[in-house]
Subunit: 165 residues, 2 copies
């Protein structure tokens, strides 16, 4: 049985079960600041669950991966969403999985278009940030606060992420 999973283009419809696509293309905008700025409003909302939780803004620099890549594990954050907004125009891989009884099912692997970011909803299984070919800087919007907000699952056999047809 193959463990290969082909990258597919990121779309709002395909990603909807897992979170939000943060991109201007295909999203309505309205003028603000006397017409000097076009705002694509509320492409995603931050979730920060539990007493004493807050939403924070961090920056991350991810080291690059090469394709095909081995995917040994996924993680999830039960108490909050996590957004990754690229500060560059290069594509990166966005790998998620549906939950099946408390563990990830078969992963789904997306490749972003230029400038597209994502917001993982709370408790959605996803891979660590996955720049392709070159390091990538990202803005991260996620939850800070008390409680355990990280769960990891290691596959008995890694999946292999490959470039699509």
């Amino acid at each position: 049985m193959t463990r290969d999973i082909a990258l597919r283009p990121l779309t709002r419809a395909a990603f909807a079960p897992f979170g939000d696509v943060i991109a201007a293309a295909g999203a309505r905008s309205h003028p603000i600041n006397g017409g000097m700025c076009d705002r694509h409003h509320a492409l995603a909302a931050a979730e920060a669950l539990g007493e004493g939780a807050r939403t924070i803004i961090s920056l991350g620099r991810g080291r690059p991966y090469a394709l095909p890549l081995d995917l040994p594990m996924l993680e999830r954050h039960p108490l909050g969403s996590q957004a990754w907004i690229p500060l560059h125009d290069r594509p990166f891989a966005v790998i998620v999985a549906p939950d099946e009884g408390g563990r990830p099912g078969t992963p789904v692997a997306f490749i972003t278009g230029p400038g597209e970011g994502v917001n993982y909803h709370a408790n959605i299984w996803h891979a660590p940030v996955t720049p392709l070919g070159a390091p990538g800087d990202f803005a991260i919007i996620d939850r800070d606060g008390p409680g355990t907000n990280l769960e990891e699952f290691t596959f008995s056999t890694p999946w292999r992420i490959v470039l699509g047809a």
Copy 2:
């Protein structure tokens, strides 16, 4: 009396009364994702005050200004913070003012370094987004919810923002 205000370099210390600088330079980082990502943690926190409020992620494309620029007004958001993270490496102007009895005092004008963003704290007087020379795309992290979250103040005579020495 001159109405000229010179742009000065953005620094964490000088901007601290108004908000946070969102930049990797000069901020501690720690490794995540098995060492594949360096995270500059919690450079800013989002404020979303009031029942039914939430923190949202939007994108904005600002039209450019030329220097010197006239500054006719400032605005503030009493119920929440507002972060502007550039998705490009060009500098932009960040213009703020202390409050003096419910109206803005003399503005302070900063110019960002490459990749530097800002988070205005709730109720801080600030100018609309001000790209310089070329349009600029930004991620915006701010508050959505009921209530009036915008206050504007128009100066009887505009200030003039000029390039520093």
